[in-house]
């Protein structure tokens, strides 16, 4: 499995509030990593640094190029609130080659519809090298959740490297191959692939670290 993303010793602070401190993370092709953490633990900050949208104060982020030498292709979705509300859903979808019959502005759609639109656009076309998803199951109905889970599994099988942050442990468990938890600014591995029963162990690890 080729290394696709490496976050090495990253530190990020907003004024005096240190969000990430010596965070290390590697993402390889064909694996989906579940990112856990309490609210405010820094999951979104880590995602945005991994997407190249933010710069770490210290440490580095590497996106090793593919075999051909071409730069890695990355897709990132930060949630339905990041979609521009004044643009019609149809036109937004058309930007990415996706067909949508919904003509209303994105801001007038329900939360679930916005989330679905954002995800359908993101997960359209051929799988990319790296996929970064921040709370992707939020607002989705059961059929939308199933579609997302199935699609993420397909992309992982096709070789995409995924980092998925979510509080929905059941959904994460159904997609991810391993899990890390953001705790005190560091990425701590919590459950290995082979450990069973995995969902219970993830829950226990989360509660042990967050509920203390």
């Amino acid at each position: 499995m080729r290394l696709r993303l490496e976050v090495a010793g990253v530190r990020k602070a907003f004024r005096r509030h240190v969000v990430l401190d010596q965070a290390w993370l590697q993402l390889r092709s064909g694996e989906a990593v579940g990112l856990l953490g309490a609210n405010g633990a820094g999951k979104t900050t880590l995602m945005r640094i991994a997407a190249g949208l933010m710069r770490p104060d210290e440490g580095s982020v590497r996106w090793p190029p593919a075999m051909s030498g071409a730069p890695s292709s990355i897709r990132y979705f930060g949630g339905e609130l990041t979609l521009p509300p004044h643009v019609s859903a149809k036109r937004w979808a058309s930007l990415f080659g996706v067909v949508s019959a919904e003509r209303r502005p994105i801001g007038r759609l329900s939360r679930g519809h916005r989330q679905t639109l954002g995800l359908r656009v993101l997960l359209s076309g051929a799988p990319t090298d790296i996929v970064l998803l921040d709370e992707p199951w939020e607002g989705l109905d059961p059929s939308g959740s199933k579609w997302l889970t199935d699609t993420l599994r397909q992309w992982t099988r096709a070789g995409a490297a995924m980092l998925i942050s979510s509080h929905r442990l059941y959904d994460l468990d159904s997609v991810c191959t391993r899990f890390v938890m953001l705790d005190a600014g560091k990425c701590v591995p919590v459950v290995e692939r082979e450990e069973q029963p995995r969902l219970e162990l993830i829950e226990q690890a989360f509660l042990k670290r967050v509920g203390r």
């Binding site: 945005r48 949208l53 933010m54 996106w63 897709r75 930060g78 990041t82 643009v87 930007l95």
Partner: protein, 229 residues
Amino acid sequence: MVKFFLIVRQTPSYGLAVLSAVTVLGMLTVALNPAELDSALGMLLFVQMVLASSGFAAAARRGHFDPLLIHGSRRSAVLFVQWCASVAPGALAWGAVAGFAYAYSSPAAWSALAGSRAVAFLIVSIVAWSAGFALPRGAGGGLWMALLLVLLLRRVDLLASAAAPDPIAMVVTTMRAAGAVVVCPFLLLGTHVPIGLPALAASVGAVVVVLCATIRMGSRLDVYLVERL
């Protein structure tokens, strides 16, 4: 990227409505009296001050430009295209009014298309965008208008010049005139204040530097997420 900004418009609908109304009003003014072109251009400059101030950082930090700013993109190109998208509606309106004035043989029409009045439009388009880069939409233009109002109320003479004809005084006067024009581009409308070519060139140079500096700063922008409540 261009397609992105054609779809994700940087000018809100109400802004386009105001711009359209001012454009029609400007054309009517010129049709009634071609010598009144500067009144129409002045109105357009005020509207452009607000429209060009599109607040790049605020929109970026809501995640609206995430697909463009992600790793691997050329941020300086994104910023330049966003500037073009922010000023384009105003530029079209300006061109329409100036072209209309040209058809009506307005004496100032050529200046509005390619002379000092066009420089006034360029200055507004760059300074308003740069001033509003990290502010909410329209705020940069609003603050600029407030500054002009303060200067007006205090009766500050931006063009007060040194009378001595020595070269140093001339350079100082030129730089001062260039600065005055950048702060108040409305000085380039009308015929009452002579602004020399060197001062015009200096003012254009200064705003181009401002544009490049803002793009450079923007390409290092930390695009953290500020969620709407």
